[in-house]
């Protein structure tokens, strides 16, 4: 049986992973672009601090859920690292998203609808 992608004992870690993986579903991103995407999509509600972002990216890459590659040098000689989902990462992201949706429904049932 597949292990749960969602770690209930550490929801903030799971949520950060979800945010990063979900942002990468639409295509490769640089670390900084990822943080901007999350902030924009959440209407400014969620900010991925850069200190949080790099450890998540490196951990996901080590787990082979995403792969990173350095871009060619641009006009000013800068090289940037772009990340994209691997096949395993895509499956993992689907599972994680499904489990989060399940958790949201479950929490909704406990907390109750707003009247």
């Amino acid at each position: 049986m597949a292990r749960n992608a969602l770690d209930l004992s550490n929801l903030s870690k799971s949520m950060n992973e979800l945010l990063v993986l979900s942002s990468l579903v639409s295509g490769p991103r640089h670390g900084y672009q990822l943080a901007l995407d999350v902030e924009e999509l959440s209407g400014g509600l969620i900010t991925l601090k850069h200190g949080t972002l790099y450890p998540i990216l490196h951990k996901l890459e080590r787990q082979k859920l995403i792969s990173g590659s350095w871009s060619a040098k641009g006009g000013k000689g800068r090289r940037r690292r772009a990340y994209e989902l691997t096949e395993t990462g895509r499956d993992y992201a689907d599972r994680l998203r499904a489990e989060w949706r399940g958790l949201m429904v479950c929490l909704g049932g406990i907390v109750g609808e707003e009247t």
Partner: protein, 251 residues
């Protein structure tokens, strides 16, 4: 050095990660700092304000550093990083070399006589095999680093971790054999108390010989390790300085 150079230097100092992980984090942060700064400028912020915002956003926090260490730093890698710092100074390496020469000269007569190997028995060859492997890797690394000058970042630390384990293995094995002999000696002495003095000396001959060989070989292998690791640490420092200078020039 500008503000970005300052923050990258600080991060470089505070990040207890082995290379090339540290260089990778620095490069990523440097590129993102630039991107953040440019975006802020495009949004109409002044250069000073954009720089201040970038520094606030990317300043290294202790939580972030700890998280990165969790992801990248194995215990052995961190130990090597600490030892690399210790072995980087010319004075420290010089002192180690002087101490090693004195110890080896003092021990040389016992080794020349070869009786010590006879006393030590087969355990000496097992202990020596590890030291030989460490010295062999050391010689290959010395050839690559000093003669061939192969300083490719990905190759710099290749083999160093294995060399470290092979360097300290003889000392651990030597102590293990010595303790086993001491344990046996206690049993023999307890059973033959009237002749305890003579028996104790006879029982510990093998343990002493193995321990002496193990420590001498560890000392020799560690000289190789310190020379190689010190060289690698210096090359990495130079690479990091060049990287930071380049980033500083770009701004």
């Amino acid at each position: 050095m500008n503000e970005f150079g300052t923050i990258l230097s600080r991060l470089e100092r505070e990040l207890p990660l082995p290379q090339p992980a540290r260089a990778r984090v620095l490069l990523e942060v440097a590129a993102d700092l630039e991107a953040f700064f440019e975006l802020a400028r495009r949004q109409g912020r002044s250069e000073a304000e954009a720089q201040r915002l970038a520094l606030e956003t990317f300043g290294p926090s202790s939580d972030a550093v700890a998280a990165l260490v969790d992801v990248h730093g194995s215990t052995a890698a961190r130990l090597m990083e600490v030892l690399a710092g210790r072995s980087a100074g010319l004075l420290e390496r010089g002192l180690l070399f002087v101490v090693a020469v004195i110890v080896l000269f003092a021990a040389a007569p016992a080794f020349v006589d070869t009786r010590i190997f006879h006393d030590a028995g087969p355990a000496a060859w097992v202990v020596s095999a590890f030291a030989v492997l460490a010295v062999f890797i050391g010689l290959v690394k010395i050839y690559l680093l000093f003669l061939k000058r192969d300083h490719r970042p990905r190759q710099l630390r290749f083999g160093l971790e294995a060399m470290l384990w092979f360097t300290i293995a003889p000392a651990f094995l030597g102590f293990a054999v010595f303790l086993m002999d001491a344990f046996d000696a206690i049993g023999v002495v307890a059973a033959n108390w009237p002749d305890a003095g003579g028996l104790l000396g006879a029982c510990l001959v093998r343990g002493h010989a193995v321990l002496a060989i193990a420590l001498a070989e560890t000392l020799v292998a560690s000289i190789f390790w310190f020379v190689v690791n010190g060289r690698v640490a210096r090359i990495e420092e130079q690479n990091a300085e060049i990287l930071l200078e380049l980033k500083g020039d770009e701004r």
